[in-house]
């Protein structure tokens, strides 16, 4: 079979797609081998197919995916009774029960003072920020000169009391039960043998 240039131009697309009869393909190959123009047409057509088939050709506009997702979500009907929905509801219930249990356990800790001999605080503003040392028994206002432990934690007074800490008898003296009896601080300190012997790490 002998083919000419016009045959090649008519069949070049099928050639690139691999849809040629084998005998025609052999004949075209023979022609193209000796024809510069047809070789240029064939290779150029192959390049076109290659270039336009590359997914890098079209760039998505910035934010395209987010907008697409938002549009879908706007039109998403509310799901009722799906497995996923029930799982979410169950997880929420577990979380609520767990939180309640933790709160209760914290209340139990609150009653166990770290120092059985210390006086619990009264009318301590619960949101007042205080500092404690992990190994200590009392809580202090920040800057209390009787804090000797370098590693202290800051927290609301309410939390400190829940964890069993008691007020520092120096910086927190106005919140001690004893203050209700108007015992002068120096006397109180002497009575506990604590004057000049206090630290957050006691």
């Amino acid at each position: 079979m002998v083919v000419g240039c016009e045959d090649v131009w008519r069949e070049v697309s099928n050639y690139v797609d691999g849809e040629l009869d084998p005998s025609l393909r052999v004949a075209m190959d023979a022609h193209i081998a000796g024809c510069r123009k047809c070789r240029a047409v064939l290779e150029g057509t192959g390049n076109i197919v290659e270039l336009y088939g590359d997914e890098r050709l079209y760039e998505l506009p910035v934010g395209f995916s987010q907008r697409m997702r938002a549009r879908l979500e706007e039109n998403m009907p509310r799901q009722r009774g799906t497995a996923w929905g029930w799982m979410v509801a169950f997880a929420a219930a577990v979380l609520a029960v767990g939180t309640f249990a933790i709160a209760n356990s914290a209340a139990v800790v609150q009653s166990a003072l770290r120092s059985p001999h210390a006086q619990p605080g009264v009318h301590v503003p619960p949101e007042m920020m205080v500092v404690v040392a992990d190994g200590g028994k009392t809580f202090h206002v920040q800057g209390c000169r009787f804090i000797h432990d370098k590693t202290v934690r800051s927290m609301p007074a309410e939390q400190a009391m829940k964890e069993g800490y008691t007020p520092c008898i120096r910086c927190m003296k106005k919140y001690l039960n004893a203050t209700a009896l108007w015992i002068p601080a120096p006397v109180l300190l002497d009575a506990h043998g604590l004057r000049g012997n206090h630290s957050a790490g006691e």
Binding site: W9, A40, E43, G44, L51, Y52, G53, M68, Q79
Partner: protein
Amino acid sequence: MMPARTSSPVHPVENEAEATLIRRIRNGERELFYELVKPYERRVYAATYAILRNEADAEDAAQEAVLKAFKNFRQFREEARFSTWLIQIAVNEARMRRRREHPDVMEPLADQRDEDGSYVPRDFADWREIPSETLERKEVREKLIEALATLGEKYREVFVLRDVQQLSIDETAKALGISIASVKTRLLRARLMLRDLLAPGFGGSWTSRLSFQKGNKPW
């Protein structure tokens, strides 16, 4: 002389992960639909852009197409590929918009010619270099998109479905509602016209500024 390009194989589903997603969505987890669409976002956009030739219109049509696919998901039959089904919806959406918004646009004169008339290439610039890295350059991508936009509608649509979207000849024919013979004729003409438009640039003036990878011909 060279290995031929083969038609893309027709798989019922693209992969196992996609099959699982489809099954879960059918079973009620409709919120997963975006995960199913995400790998094809770019193709959906490319299809609508190639037809509408405007970024904002193309994005809006792409969103609308995905929304229609979501609402009509029950109509999707797994004998077809999901991507093909989605692209067909996108093409239909874009064509419908173009006709609605530009009902008076006439087809370019070239489109009115007899499809059976042979096309004679105008340019024979030697273009043997494979521009494997050239698509990294924005200017090249713009040239390609501009060239495609100059084709008449019926050539552009066939070319986009077959060569940009990689649908088979048969899928392209079904998507456009035309015969396989018409797809082949239009595809040939579209490819040759694009080659004529782009070969001078790739074969000459652009090559001095582009870093082509030599000696690597995948087809």
